[in-house]
């Protein structure tokens, strides 16, 4: 292709590489389908399995027995994968918590299980299901109270943040005291295979638990239990990095979010509870192939390319992102290693903007619910790729683990703890430079 361009408009070398955010998987798509395409280098059997996985991801489950898609419940949060990851993207913060939404609450009591993980709440497990098949009592209704605080930029501009505090109502049995609850919204599911393919040593190399370089930032890996291999492994997925693989993430979601038993997690989430009305005649309800297909799908969705990488404001924002310290945790670039069976995601240079590590984010964002190595103030750095397409894909701009932030500016201002210095730097910028940072994020 030849097009005459003015030389000054040519893409700068650093922008040229970051344009391929997902390496060879990258697609150039700016519509609501931006998170929903197969990796652009998928072919043959791998493309076919991706498409089978796409169908599995959209499957709507119903109460057994049924000729098609049986196994829902008996208690659940939602009835399909796509319902919590609309268009493979991010669920909004719900206006009504007890509708069929992409938000649920995890729960635990003080202490740890045999592997250092959270202790389930007796009678409720480690995830609260607010929906149920007809005739079964759901575990509880979700409830929330918001408090508002005003944060002010150094130039005097105020921003109102809303802080949700969640609790349970109408529990099917009395809730034990001292319960810790933590909210979660469904995050986007593209690019997960690439993150899984980053070699462990690359991630661990970024950790600095004792902050030996005294920069105030001390990324820490989460080490979690791999249920299939019965070993402790680096956690990569989930808001606190509690799952080591995409497979465990998917299998856990089938079981906990939808009440679908599967070869990986074959026991109903309500097992042993007095509201368990599932007589389990047919476990596992999901076959290995469907689980593998859905997992393969999440591993092989394309990453959308950034837009406007040459735009002057974006370039200023990109520079500021680095100078005010964001890039210390939102590490732009990684190289993937070899991922068995999926050459398309192997040996790729990618730009996810995450270090895949835990950081103390301060008490404002804290859920006060530890999970393996992650304490009640620590969260895993979220990848930022595709974040500017959130609105076109999902019709909203809700961010963070429960969607409390209503736009990117609010999301930045919630960053405390290790990120407090960067946030304070951001607050000291003038309106034009703040807009440039947001323009950069929106270009991703």
């Amino acid at each position: 292709m030849t097009t005459s361009c003015n030389t000054k408009e040519e893409i700068k070398p650093q922008s040229r590489s970051r344009l391929y955010a997902g390496g060879e998987t990258t697609i150039f798509e700016e519509s609501s389908f931006a998170f929903s395409s197969p990796a652009s280098n998928l072919t043959g059997d791998n493309l076919a399995q991706h498409l089978d996985g796409d169908a599995a991801f959209e499957q709507v489950f119903v109460t057994p027995p049924a000729p098609l898609n049986q196994g829902l419940g008996s208690i659940y949060n939602n009835s399909s994968c796509i319902a919590c990851h609309p268009k493979d993207g991010r669920a909004p913060h719900p206006t009504e918590l007890n509708d069929f939404t992409g938000l649920f609450l995890r729960g635990s009591i003080v202490g740890t299980d045999a592997h250092g993980g959270p202790l389930p709440i007796p009678g409720f497990g480690d995830q609260i299901q607010q929906n149920s098949v007809i005739g079964t009592k759901p575990e509880a209704d979700f409830a929330v109270v918001y408090t508002e605080t005003v944060v002010t930029f150094d130039d005097g501009t105020p921003v109102t943040l809303r802080k949700p505090v969640y609790y349970l109502k109408n529990t099917y049995i009395p809730l034990p005291s001292q319960v810790m609850l933590s909210p979660r919204v469904g995050p986007p599911v593209f690019g997960l295979g690439l993150l899984e393919a980053i070699p462990e040593e690359s991630i661990v190399a970024l950790a600095d638990e004792q902050d030996s370089d005294r920069d105030g930032i001390s990324g820490k890996p989460n080490y979690v239990w791999n249920h299939e291999e019965a070993t402790m492994q680096l956690g990569r997925f989930g808001w606190k990095g509690i799952n080591p693989t995409v497979l465990q993430q998917c299998a856990g979601a089938y079981n906990n979010d939808m009440g679908i038993t599967n070869p990986y997690f074959p026991v109903e989430n309500s097992f042993g509870q007095t509201n368990n009305s599932d007589p389990n005649p047919n476990d596992p309800e999901l076959d290995q192939q469907s689980l593998d297909d859905a997992t393969f799908y999440c591993r092989t969705l394309a990453v959308p390319a950034p837009r406007n990488v040459n735009n002057e404001e974006v370039l200023i924002g990109e520079k500021l992102f680095e100078t005010i310290g964001c890039a210390k945790c939102h590490v732009p670039k990684h190289e993937t290693g070899v991922f068995p069976g999926i050459p398309e995601i192997s040996n790729q240079t990618i730009y996810p903007y995450t270090d895949m590590l835990l950081h103390d984010m301060g008490f404002g964002l804290a859920d006060d619910r530890p999970s393996f190595s992650a304490n009640g103030q620590e969260w895993k750095t979220r990848p930022l790729w595709g974040i500017g397409l959130t609105e076109v894909v999902g019709g909203h701009t809700h961010f963070l683990h429960d969607g409390r932030a209503r736009n990117l500016t609010e999301a930045i201002l919630w960053h405390g703890g290790e990120a407090a210095k960067s946030t304070s730097n951001f607050k000291s910028l003038d309106a034009k430079n703040r807009a440039a940072v947001i323009a950069f994020l929106n270009s991703l």
């Binding site: 361009c5 391929y20 798509e29 498409l51 709507v60 098609l68 009835s79 076109v392």
Partner: protein
């Protein structure tokens, strides 16, 4: 949401170069853009005269369906049951004609899963019918998508085997049917209002694409949305709606199985593609066709031929789709193949034109 394009003939690098060429020649927003052809009229026409009007028709047909169900409940005759069933089919037409543009409020407001989820959760439905809850519209509204919307209404009107008689209805079924059709009426009204300039005015994202829309920052992104929507439904009909029951010889995978409305569903899905492509619903206007013909008149016309051939192939399936899946597989395959041709043309010939604008 998938797309079946086999990229072997269009390497990722090639695509990247196209996109990069576009990006690298894009002026900074601070500069005056060079005179570039605007497709605002095409995008606006599709938004205003195709999408918004299709949803208006869906809302008005849903209101008629509700009123026919009211009449049926008040006067339980075989003839009123037939009229109500006809009203369901009539409502299904604009809905299927809208599935070529499953983006925006239908998706972000959760309306699609609330009105078109399937399979029907029969176990739960029976449990609700056997229970004693007052079956108000708000009670139904709070239920899962698999207990409301088109297919639950279809199941109640036709029954599981398709030979339900008016005398077979229980009082609870009528109560449920009334509220579930009222719920459909309300949901489709919300959907129509969300696009309507007099309502939430989502259509402004198309009429103002590339200017003040917060989601379509360029005209190209809006055109991509429209073409991807067409690709999405072509893929869904060929590889899902038709291929799943056919390849697995399993009628539980047929979507409109109780009413035997599948052939109409498929044809109206293809018409949905045609409407967006030609910018034509009740009136004629500019569409994607007019964008394509500037680059390639033959290609622009060929897609219309392919659309017509697909509709003909669907119409040529003898009898019901349920029967043809077993007894006329060649005709069903022919329809599937003809829809796949549309998908391939959109993906490998038309989308690249849009991406290179």
């Amino acid at each position: 949401m998938k797309t079946q394009l086999n990229w072997r003939n269009t390497t990722a690098i090639g695509l990247g170069l196209m996109a990069m060429t576009f990006t690298s020649c894009k002026k900074d927003s601070t500069e005056t853009p060079t005179a570039k052809k605007s497709y605002s009229a095409n995008i606006s026409n599709i938004g205003t005269n195709v999408i918004t009007q299709t949803y208006k028709e869906l809302a008005s047909k849903s209101a008629i369906l509700y009123s026919e169900v009211v009449k049926l409940k008040d006067n339980q005759t075989a003839s009123n049951l037939d009229i109500a069933r006809g009203a369901w089919r009539d409502t299904r037409v604009p809905w299927e004609k809208s599935e070529g543009f499953l983006f925006g409020p239908v998706d972000t407001k959760g309306i699609d899963p609330a009105i078109d989820s399937w399979p029907v959760n029969k176990i739960d439905l029976d449990a609700v019918l056997a229970g004693s809850d007052a079956l108000t519209e708000s009670f139904i509204d709070a239920l899962a998508g698999e207990l409301k919307g088109f297919h639950t209404i279809e199941y109640l009107l036709w029954g599981g085997t398709g030979n339900k008689q008016v005398g077979d209805f229980t009082a609870r079924e009528f109560e449920y049917l009334l509220s579930v059709t009222e719920n459909l009426k309300n949901k489709t009204k919300i959907l129509a209002d969300s696009w309507d300039p007099a309502g939430e005015n989502f259509v402004k994202n198309l009429t103002e694409a590339g200017t003040s829309s917060s989601i379509y920052l360029t005209e190209k992104s809006a055109l991509q949305e429209l073409v991807q929507g067409m690709i999405g439904i072509a893929d869904e009909v060929a590889n899902g709606k038709i291929n799943d029951p056919l390849s697995q010889q399993d009628l539980s995978k047929e979507e409109s199985q109780f009413s035997h409305n599948s052939k109409n569903d498929f044809a109206n899905n293809v018409r949905s593609i045609s409407n967006v492509y030609n910018g034509k619903f009740n009136v004629n206007g500019l569409g994607i066709y007019d964008v394509v013909k500037e680059s390639d008149q033959n290609l622009a016309d060929r897609l219309n031929d392919e659309i017509n051939a697909a509709i003909t192939a669907i119409d040529n399936i003898p009898g019901t789709f349920s029967d043809a899946v077993f007894n006329n597989q060649a005709a069903v395959n022919e329809a599937k193949d003809k829809i796949t041709v549309i998908q391939t043309t959109l993906e490998s010939e038309i989308l690249p034109i849009i991406n290179n604008l």
